[in-house]
């Protein structure tokens, strides 16, 4: 079975541009998470989707960041007007409702020049 996939695997953009990062979770997983890992840092929680409930956006660092999850499956993380400090690896993870283990995708490496 397929794991969590993310695209693109790498993204280089110019400061001020918008970027969209995509996550395809494991089929049937109702929970989906976005994290960010900056150089030398741990995994920073960004946003959490669970089924049809309102997402937990408490980790989003600014209003330039937003995320959607369509049809309870694919999710898109959008960063508007990117800044150099947004450069990081953006990781997506999904989880079965009745388990605690998260399954991570390979990440998208974002570089803002």
């Amino acid at each position: 079975g397929a794991g969590v996939s993310q695209s693109p695997s790498n993204k280089v953009t110019e400061k001020g541009k918008d970027v969209e990062l995509r996550c395809d979770p494991i089929s049937g997983h109702t929970a989906l998470y976005w994290y960010r890992q900056s150089l030398g840092q741990g995994l920073e929680f960004l946003i959490y989707f669970q089924g049809n409930s309102a997402p937990d956006k408490s980790g989003l660092p600014s209003d330039r960041f937003s995320a959607e999850r369509t049809g309870g499956s694919v999710s898109t993380l959008t960063i508007q007007r990117t800044q150099q400090e947004d450069s990081a690896v953006y990781l997506c993870a999904s989880r079965d409702l009745y388990q605690e283990t998260q399954y991570f995708g390979p990440g998208t490496r974002l570089l803002v020049l």
Partner: protein, 113 residues
């Protein structure tokens, strides 16, 4: 304010010896703990977990110990193998909540042949 701390950014061990990775936490509401392993350019993968009702969980060469009174857990790898070289993340969460784990910054383990 880091609620999950991995105070050793790196650890070097000889093949065949024991690797001990440590993790401390401050939130007494945490009751479920996980270790993830991450290779370069890949997402973290689940390794082993422990619930607060236990003080030890073993899976092959990997054992996690939990000392609730000290708010400390450790991951033991015996015997260490070169393929164990990776970054290890400790994570903690509160059961019954939204299962948003808090991650440490990771410890980079290098196992020398």
């Amino acid at each position: 304010d880091q609620q999950v701390k991995q105070n050793s950014p790196s650890l070097s061990v000889q093949e065949g010896r024991i690797s001990i990775l440590n993790c401390d936490y401050t939130n007494s509401m945490f009751d479920y703990f996980l270790w993830y392993k991450k290779y370069p350019a890949e997402g973290p993968t689940f390794l082993i977990s422990i619930s607060s009702i236990k003080d030890k969980n073993e899976d092959g060469r990997f054992t996690v110990f939990l000392n609730k009174s000290a708010k400390h857990l450790s991951l033991h790898i015996v015997p260490s193998q070169p393929g164990d070289s990776a970054v290890y993340f400790c994570a903690a969460s509160e059961a019954g909540g939204s299962y948003i784990p808090t991650f440490g910054r990771g410890t980079s383990l290098i196992v020398h042949p």
